[in-house]
Each structure stands twice: as structure tokens, then as C-alpha cells.
């Protein structure tokens, strides 16, 4: 059965660490990084990348349009 796998790329410098994508992610992929970007924000990153199915929920709620989403169909 074909399984969907995804990945997101967060623009670290643009992210303001608002946490909305983390909450919106249905598979708990995202978290806020312990590190901060050059504005001092804990930017979002894929903490559990293996869970990502590329659903685009995170990019949908992102106020700063800093998330790009990729998705592939892969054999299980």
C-alpha cells in the first residue's frame, strides 16, 4: 500500500515561533527549537520528521508564510 510521506522546510529567519503550526500539526511533527534565530525567536522545526505526511496544515495556519511543504507517495 502506498504511504504518503512528507517534509516541511521552515525558513528559520522568518519564523517568529508563534507555535501555531506546532498545534496545527496532526502528527506531532513540529516543535519549537531550543535555539533561537537572529531575531531571538524559537523557530519551528521538524522534531519528528518521520511522522510528516505533507498535509500542509502547518503552512495553512502560518502567519509568516515561512513553511514550504513537500510530499511523496512511497511504498510502505
Amino acid at each position: 500500500m502506498a504511504k504518503v510521506r512528507g517534509a516541511v522546510v521552515v525558513d528559520n529567519d522568518v519564523c517568529k515561533g508563534c507555535n501555531l503550526c506546532v498545534v496545527a500539526c496532526p502528527t506531532q511533527v513540529l516543535a519549537l527549537n531550543r535555539n533561537v534565530n537572529n531575531k531571538g525567536y524559537h523557530y519551528s522545526y521538524m522534531e519528528n520528521p518521520e511522522n510528516c505526511n505533507g498535509c500542509t496544515n502547518c503552512s495553512a495556519v502560518c502567519p509568516d508564510s515561512c513553511i514550504t511543504v513537500y510530499r511523496v507517495k512511497a511504498e510502505a
Binding site: K16, C18, N19, V23, P49, V61, P63, D64, V72
Partner: protein
């Protein structure tokens, strides 16, 4: 770890791209606070304009308020209006260039307080424009003062003990009032706190622009929004507060979708 990195890199390829920010949104860092709804609505407008292929025909009108700098982010032609006057400015643009798409973008102070007259009369004339209304129940830019849409009991910097109806009157449901006007073609209230809500709002904005092309009256989209800085809550808690407190006062959904009224209903019988 490197195996995982390899797997991720395999996915991150142009052919697998499912979402990237619209090229109409430029790389200028938005000045909005973390979690601000403005950013989402800006993106949706950019996406709609891009998807409809109307970049060269669209003129935006930005307000006074946090969104004054909307013109910095969406790469179309813009006019920046005086406080509350965006519907008049949009009227001026649209009347002399009826073939263009014109939209105004205003907050609650701009649209529902100082610009109430301009708002009502633009809609009542059935101006063929799109009006986007960001309602976060507070004045964000000036530091969190009471807005006409501030809820009873809500604490702001000018209602430090909570909005009191004896002193300040009631939250203004201006969208309900506008829906009564015969010039309104489409009036809806949406939100952007969840992926589903965002997709609905995008559909509403798209519909509003399509209505403009049909020239059947004003298309008005309210987006119930958050202001985490003004509300002094985290963005995530702001969304919760909005769902619990704002939605009962400002229920989501379409308020009107009939096109502007038939003039015959209003015509005098004899001269």
C-alpha cells in the same frame, strides 16, 4: 541520523512541492507580532489574486492600523488610505477604473469606528469592490485600546476594568448591519485559527473577488481574528480565547449571498 536526513532530502525536491508561499508575497519580513492573523489573511489574498491571474488588474487599499503596511508585502499596486476612509478611496479607484479589481483591507477601529460612514455608504451604494474586515476586538497598532467590537468585560488599555456598557456601549456587530443593506452582494464572517478555517476563508475571499467581476454589489468578508499582543495571551491561547469568547458574539458563516437587491423593490410608483 544521516539516514533520516537523506530520506528528508529525497522528499524535498521541486517535483514533490505541495505548498510554497505565493510569489505575490515578497520576502519582506512582516512587521506583525508572532501569531497575528493579518499574516494569514495577507497570504490568502495573495494566493487568490495569483490563482485568478489578476495581479496586473488589482489595486489594494490599506488602512490606518496594523495593516497600514500591507502594501509592503503583496506585490500589487496599493493606495494607503486615511483612517477609516479606505472604502471611499476604493470607491474613487473603482469608479474611474471599473475594469480593475479593487479591495479594501481594514481593521475594526478603521472600518467600524472612525470609518463607519464610509463603510456603510460604500456597501449601500453596492460598490463593486471587495472589503476585507479584520475584527480582533481591539486597537492593535496604538497599543490595545478599546475597539467598537471589544467584548463586554474585555480588558483593554482604555477599558482597564473591562468594557462596561454603561460607559462604552455594546460590541458593534457591523457585519450583521451591513448584511441588511441592499447594496451588499455577499457578506460572510470567517476565521483563520485552524487549517480548516483558513481554507474556508480562502474560498470566501476567492468568491468575493469573483463577485466583483460579476458587478453585482459589494463583497464583504469579515475575518474574526486574534491580537495576542493586545489580548496579552500567547498566539495559541489567543485562538482558544477567540473561539470561546469571540465566536458566540461574532458567529461564523455567510450572512448574505444573494447579490445586490433588485432596484424595482425600491422604485417610486409614480412621479
Amino acid at each position: 541520523m544521516s539516514v533520516l536526513t537523506d530520506r528528508i532530502n529525497e522528499i524535498i525536491k521541486p517535483e514533490n512541492l505541495v505548498y510554497a508561499k505565493s510569489p505575490l508575497l515578497n520576502d519582506d519580513l512582516m512587521h506583525y507580532c508572532p501569531g497575528c492573523s493579518h499574516g494569514v489573511v495577507h497570504r490568502l489574498i495573495a494566493e487568490v489574486i495569483e490563482e485568478m491571474g489578476i495581479q496586473e488588474q488589482t489595486i489594494g487599499v490599506s488602512p490606518v492600523g496594523c495593516a497600514v503596511f500591507a502594501y509592503n508585502y503583496i506585490d500589487i499596486d496599493w493606495q494607503e488610505a486615511a483612517h477609516g476612509r479606505a472604502p471611499a478611496v476604493a470607491t474613487g479607484i473603482k469608479r474611474v477604473m471599473p475594469e480593475k479589481y479593487v479591495f479594501s483591507y481594514q481593521g475594526d477601529g478603521d472600518l467600524a469606528a472612525i470609518g463607519t460612514a464610509e463603510t456603510f455608504h460604500a456597501v449601500n451604494r453596492g460598490e463593486n469592490i471587495v472589503m476585507i474586515f479584520i475584527n480582533n476586538a481591539i486597537y492593535g497598532m496604538t497599543g490595545g485600546q478599546m475597539a467598537p467590537t471589544t467584548l463586554v468585560g474585555q480588558i483593554t488599555s482604555t477599558t482597564p476594568h473591562g468594557r462596561d456598557v454603561d460607559l462604552n456601549g455594546y460590541p458593534l456587530r457591523i457585519t450583521e448591519l451591513l448584511a441588511q443593506l441592499p447594496g451588499a452582494a455577499y457578506v460572510t464572517r470567517q476565521s483563520v485559527q485552524t487549517p480548516g478555517a483558513v481554507r474556508k476563508t480562502k474560498k470566501a475571499i476567492r468568491k468575493a473577488f469573483e463577485i466583483q467581476a460579476k458587478k453585482i454589489g459589494t463583497a464583504f468578508v469579515e475575518v474574526v481574528s486574534t491580537c495576542s499582543s493586545g489580548w496579552k495571551l500567547s498566539p495559541v491561547d489567543s485562538n482558544k480565547w477567540m473561539e470561546e469568547n469571540m465566536f458566540p458574539q461574532y458567529p461564523l458563516g455567510d450572512l448574505k449571498d444573494t447579490g445586490r437587491a433588485d432596484a424595482e423593490l425600491y422604485r417610486i410608483k409614480a412621479k
